[in-house]
């Protein structure tokens, strides 16, 4: 089936197999490999993208369902080679270790900050509940989101979640 999708503001027209997921379409047909496949079953959130304005696990969306839609991926986070405010905060707070979850995590954070520009810690935890990070233990990520949204961060105040 022929589909047209706008990804990070750019229009793509491609012929896709009906049984291809949006995740594999992004990675293999469009070459955007920042979106990762972790579990492939909607548990881990590594494949999170923003699909028509809402976060989804792209492993559970068919590429054919994306015909006519808009998709935002991690590749659209930095602009003109400059890291976004959130990416810079992740760097400052060591919120990235192996980096495998980071692409999906940043998509959930982007969506969270649209809904809650100054999220509380509880709102941050809710916002990233669908994104597993097996390295950081989440503290640094929560601190980075507080910082990215212009809120004070007291080091060591957060407990493991």
């Amino acid at each position: 089936m022929r589909i047209t999708v706008t990804i990070n503001g750019e229009r793509y027209e491609r012929e896709v197999e009906e049984n291809r997921t949006l995740l594999h379409f992004l990675r293999e047909e469009v070459g955007l490999t920042g979106t990762k496949e972790g579990c492939g079953a909607g548990e881990c959130g590594a494949c999170t993208v923003i699909f028509n304005g809402r976060t989804v696990n792209s492993c559970m969306v068919l590429a054919v369902e994306a015909d006519g839609s808009t998709v935002e991926t991690i590749e659209g986070e930095a602009t003109d080679g400059k890291l976004s405010k959130t990416q810079q905060a992740f760097e400052r707070h060591n919120a990235v270790q192996c980096g495998f979850c980071t692409g999906g995590m940043l998509m959930s954070v982007r969506d969270l900050l649209r809904r809650h520009p100054k999220p509380t810690v509880a709102e941050i935890k809710d916002g990233i509940e669908g994104n597993f990070c097996r390295c950081t233990g989440y503290e640094q990520i929560i601190e980075a989101v507080l910082d990215a949204s212009g809120q004070p961060v007291k080091k060591g105040e957060l407990k493991h979640v």
Binding site: M1, T21, H24, G45, N57, V61, G127, E129, G130
Partner: protein, 271 residues
């Protein structure tokens, strides 16, 4: 890669029913896809056709009518339940159950109707729908019929739906509005997880009702309880209705114990 299937995206209700009539036995309806696509990936489902219900005109949204009550259409997602002002003010139990279902990403795709047609014993929406007297409006080329949720589930992953039928909308009657209630779900972690056991408790007009998940082959409804009944009697009625199993997540005894604990907590919590 998923196994090969034909993808069909009907635009109208008539076209959908024709496709279901034609391909029903070898087709699966695709709504949120959060169970179906995982099942296909794991080889648990191998349909020849996937029929997308989200492309059908008039299948989206949650509506309210004074005559019918709350109408949840086939493509309405779990997050739409959480965003609905009407549900938050008049049917809070639906929102409490929806909030406990999976993660934000999954709730953006998963549908209320998908959660019940799968007929998993651990369905999070079923306990609320049972407590609120909801009914399933089932449609096919042959016509329409209504089935109360109390008669909808027939076994593990089994419902009254025939191969050519679709659960087109869920109606939660107007008389159930302003029912007070809450849902407690036992999970291994605080984040998103399948329920080990869950209890919804609703109070209205001197009556108490329970909807229990993961404690029998189907979600369980316990009605005919009065607010004046002692907690022991309510727990005893629940014990009679459930038949939990021991499995990888916990034992039968622990499930029974926690159903009792949750009922006692909910009786204090839900005023």
């Amino acid at each position: 890669m998923l196994h090969a299937f034909h993808y069909l995206a009907p635009r109208t209700r008539t076209e959908l029913f024709r496709l279901l009539g034609e391909h029903g036995p070898s087709a699966k309806l695709l709504a949120g896809g959060t169970d179906l696509l995982v099942n296909i990936r794991n080889g648990l489902a191998a349909p020849d056709y996937l029929i997308n219900v989200k492309s059908v005109e008039g299948f989206s949204g949650i509506l309210w009518s004074d005559r019918e009550g709350l109408v949840i259409r086939a493509s309405a997602t779990i997050n739409e339940v959480l965003e609905s002002e009407k549900i938050r003010s008049d049917y809070p139990l639906l929102a409490v159950c929806a909030r406990d279902l999976a993660s934000h990403q999954v709730r953006n795709r998963a549908t209320v109707i998908g959660n019940v047609v799968n007929a998993s014993p651990c369905s999070d929406m079923a306990p609320a729908l049972l407590c609120l007297d909801a009914k399933a409006v089932i449609a096919s080329e042959r016509g329409e019929r209504e089935v109360p949720f109390r008669e909808f589930f027939t076994g593990v992953k089994k419902t009254v739906l025939q191969k050519d039928e679709l659960l087109e909308r869920i109606v939660v009657p107007a008389h159930s509005a302003k029912t007070r209630g809450s849902y407690h779900k036992l999970k291994r972690i605080n984040g998103h997880d399948l329920g080990i056991v869950g209890v919804a408790l609703a109070r209205k007009g001197g009556m108490v009702r329970l909807g229990i998940s993961s404690a029998a082959p189907t979600p369980v409804f316990v009605g005919d309880l009065k607010e004046s009944d002692p907690a022991d009697a309510i727990v005893a009625a629940a014990m009679k209705a459930i038949s939990p199993i021991s499995d990888v997540r916990c034992t039968k005894e622990y499930r029974e114990f926690m159903v009792g604990v949750f009922i006692r907590r909910l009786l204090m919590e839900v005023e």
